[in-house]
Amino acid sequence: MSFGAPYFTLPEFTYHKPKTLKEALELLDTYRDEAKVMAGGVGLVAFMKERLMSPSHVIDIKEIPELKRVEYREGAGLKIGAAVTLSELENNEIIKKKYTALYQAIKKAADPIIRNRATLVGNICEALPWVDGPIPLIAYNAKVEVMSLNDVRLIPVSDFIKGPVEIDLAPNEIATFIHVPDPPPESKSTFLKFNTGSEFALATMAAHVVGSVKPKEVYLVYGAVSTKPVRASEAERIILTSENIKEAIVEAATKASQEIDVVSDVLASEDYRRHLIKVLTINALKSIFEVS
């Protein structure tokens, strides 16, 4: 990932590799604003090369044992540590089986070599408009666990990402885990990404529906179209209240393409993105409701 700085080298910093979470939190508590936490480093190193970050201290949490784990408990769901790479998640059978949208998003994130280093938590902490990770997570109502020396907070991913490059994380806090609730039975989800002829997506979406005949919950979440992930709540309502889902799909998709704040940028124009939102939404809802 890059923007446009001409540097080869990184700014100077001191590297720390704590062995425990406590040690990491203590370091962070000491250096605060001067420090940055690194897991895979994919985002951080790139940001440093671009001179968009110049921390004096880098705290590498890669070797902290509890952050390297993925746990799943029925009913409670998934708990993904901050040092778990996307490749590890890609090979996780539970994710493949139960969290379709998340699995698809991971499979489509960056490229397989980057995925060997990049982490899901890191992906979310980048808070860049086009990253894939947050989109399915928001559709699953996932929460980020944030820790400081004397506090633990659980924040919905949708609130955690406040805007581009802005997250709800204090200087002394580490985003340690992601909790993804166990999808109820009769839950279906999917993730779609449009990035033909582009490294960054021009539009992504995750759809998650609970209840196949009469939906009880509907999540339609979009990425890469706005300054942060957005939900199409009116479109969701159309699906929730519809008597005939087949009929409602196009209506919901049209609504989604209208209700969201959409940006124009170097990758795509607003009207094309709105069009893509409609196409993606129809596609996603059709595959969820298996219209045939």
């Binding site: 923007f3 671009e50 968009l52 970050m53 110049s54 805007g163 581009p164 802005e166 997250i167 170097v266």
Partner: protein
């Protein structure tokens, strides 16, 4: 990108004018200023730390007085700068109006953010520049209060 504003400073007009027309003074009001130097014709060069969200970049900026009229209390400055492979440039107009015991400072800025950062993150950067200019004049108000 154009924007404007005004602040009322509870200080008399000459005092305000002296403050804002003295680079050594007004520069103290630039948020994130790290280093600066004042050259010929009040040309200021400065290193400014820019914080947007968790991004903290350093911009090298300079400003120059294009027009200055101490009888009418008007000034026009140009700004240019670059950092992280992108740039910005702009014009700031300032006018002071004498009010009853205080001074009204009216400003208008026209700022462009250019380059790859600007194109990917225009709304963010524009919001940031707006905030920065607002902070600057608010600081003037506070310093002279």
């Amino acid at each position: 990108m154009k924007f404007e504003g005004k602040v009322v400073i509870s200080s008399e007009i000459n005092k305000v004018w002296d403050f804002i027309s003295d680079p050594e003074k007004i520069i103290q009001c630039i948020p994130g200023i790290q280093e600066y130097s004042v050259g010929e014709g009040k040309r200021v060069t400065a290193k400014i730390k820019v914080s947007i969200g968790f991004i903290k970049g350093v911009f090298h900026a300079s400003s120059k007085v294009l027009e200055e009229d101490s009888t009418k209390y008007t000034a026009k400055l140009s700004l240019t700068g670059s950092g992280a492979g992108s740039g910005f440039n702009g014009i700031v107009d300032i006018k002071l109006n004498r009010m009853d015991g205080s001074t009204e400072l009216i400003w208008a800025a026209d700022v462009n953010v250019s380059g790859p950062l600007g194109s990917l993150a225009k709304p963010i950067l524009e919001g940031y520049v707006r905030k920065l200019v607002e902070q600057l004049f608010d600081c003037v108000r506070q310093k002279l209060a």
